[in-house]
Amino acid sequence: MSRISEGDYVFMQLPSGNHKIVRIVADSLIVLGKFGSVSANTLVNLPFYETYDIISKTEVRKIAAEPADDLETSAESGINDVLTMEGNKIQYHGNQTLSMSEIEQFKQSGLKGDALIKKIQEAHQDFDKKTEFSKAKYLKRKKAKYMHTFCPLPMTCDRLLDLYIDKDPARVLGMDPATLAHMLSLANVRPGGRYLIMDESPSVLTTAILERLGNKGCVVIAHENEHPNLDGLKYFPQWMPSDDFEGENPMVRLINLLDLFCPEETLPFVEKDADSLKGTQKTQYLRQLYRENQRLWVRKQCELGFDAVIVLSTLNLVDIVPRLLEFAAGSTPLVVYSDARENLVNLTLALKKDLRVLAPTIMETRLRKFQTLPGRMHPTMTAKGYSGVLLHGIRVLPDSAAVAVGMAAQRKKRKIEPAENTVQT
């Protein structure tokens, strides 16, 4: 994964700090908006992680610069002023950036990229008087605006999530990367595991788990609609489930809630002699057979118990989670995400009465990014607001006496109490 290949989805980091996912299709033109366009063929075999300047549609040049990603453009104390150091004294010069019309003149004179930046820099009368910090900030800001550069990065789930958070956080239920990461650990996701999940995001949770599975194990997606939302999975063609009846052991298996919870309502599958069928009838039959086998595999796994139940859904959690719990093996984690703590508070209260989950706990993890410019270190001035939290607990098996009297009895508070309470009450 160190060079771009044809067919790849590539995550383009742009000088503005924004991102774009492009697909490398032979002979196509890759359009990066105001940062220029370049032919896909030119990109094939370029190393990832380097920054390139677009010279023309068929020519790019590797440059030393790093894309602007750690510099804030938002307000900072005195940021609109030019601060200069004279000896030990700090002087203010007010806002003295070039006017847009001056910059336009430079641009129309045909200057581009680095050369344009240099010109603007020279024209800025106070440039030499600036502190190192404000110089760095000024250059980065100008670069972000006028450079035709990009930095190609391989697609990862982390980058997919970043993209959604930038463009439309509601689609990922306002989930921040630290929370997603925490879900994977708390759910004990590991190569070879088999996980029952609900994923209402455009497959962000799904791809995150798949990255951890490698080529072993399986994700079963229980979806509430006729078809699941696999929008993000398309950037990872290796995992995309298909109706391809030749496929073996797919990493992603699908089941809708009706087939999951009410198998008795599934219409009986009528076996046929495939060899006696022809053409589309045969193809159709084999596809149905493949789906039926998938369904049977999932139902079998439901009986064996999954290695974790992981839920990212806007269905009433108090309603859906206890039903999914039935399919978790003993001692496996339950992890539930919600974009509102209130939903998980209600779920906790319900689970406290349901004895099948040990120590249900709500966790809130929040990342805080910093600017790390020398001498100017501080958390970024603004950040996305996240309200998402997760609940985790461990599926346990209440003792046989309790199990014998059935589910209804379990929901009532039982006389037998956990060890720690025995002495406390």
Binding site: A75, S77, G78, L258, N346, A383, G385
Partner: protein
Amino acid sequence: MFLNSKRIIEEGDLVLIWISRTVIRPVYLKKDEALQTKFGHFLHNDMIGRPFGSQISATQGRGFVHVLAPTPELWALSLPHRTQIVYSPDSSYIIHRLQIRPDSKVVEAGTGSGALTHALARAVGTDGTIFTYEYHEDRHMQAVKEFKDHELSDIITCTHRNVCEDGFQIEKPTLATAVFLDLPAPWTAIPKLFEGEILNRKEAVHICCFSPCIEQVSKTVKVLEEHGFQSIEMVENQAKRWEGHESMVRSVDEALDVLRDVRKRRNMGIERRKRKRLVSEVEAEQSEEDKKLLRGDYDNPVVYNPWGKGERVKEGDDGYKWAPVSTIEPEIKNHTSYLTFALLPPLQD
């Protein structure tokens, strides 16, 4: 204006016209004048004589605004952001920790937008004084004018000065017991506090330095220690704003019924296609409802649609179940500045 409890709006009053959370317009009321907004035309005459807090309707249309009495917080919200302001979670904690009381004397540098100065003036009231310093001349002039307009000139003494170089001394002693420094290099200003009659050394003096970068804090702490300050403590104040909303409660049984509905319609479609091939006229015998179902269209009112999918459902609409949730503002103030507090004990005679 800022310091009284006026109940009725009069001509000449400064009012803050609340148009929306993000649009608050300061207006001095004058007979026969009007406020023009993109939401309508609002007559000053409709406001004068009414109580503060009144809802005023536009001369035409359904728009309305609220006419509010000025407070430092509302004033800060109404400011076009000339420079970064000290936001209320910070300013309120600064005032609290600096133990500012009615009659306190306070030194502030720089004045900046004057947002904190307003809050300080409210805290000291008419018996106290704020001595505020600003290097930037335009900002100084703007602040002087504003404090005059806001009838706070008796409480606030503005000085145009680079305190880091020229110190705090003015014609009269300030004798402050609280100092607030919002400067790029507070450590250069701290020694200047000891030149002239700036601090009231008979009382404990509380100081707060407000710096965005951690390196500024290190330098500040060092210089504070060198100058005899004690109980040095640095804190950050992280504030988040939440709103209450109602979120639709969608049950699993409803989800299952949606799937059953889809399955039923699909099966009927299969049956229909089968039958069509055999006896096409059988179709004519179907009921109207079954016919509708066969169309399999979500716009079709017969489709089971428990959550108003594709319809315009407003939060809290009857016919659906709702649960309270909180949502955070989409962009939070992740960092404002580090607040370094310290205490200078009184000099003993």
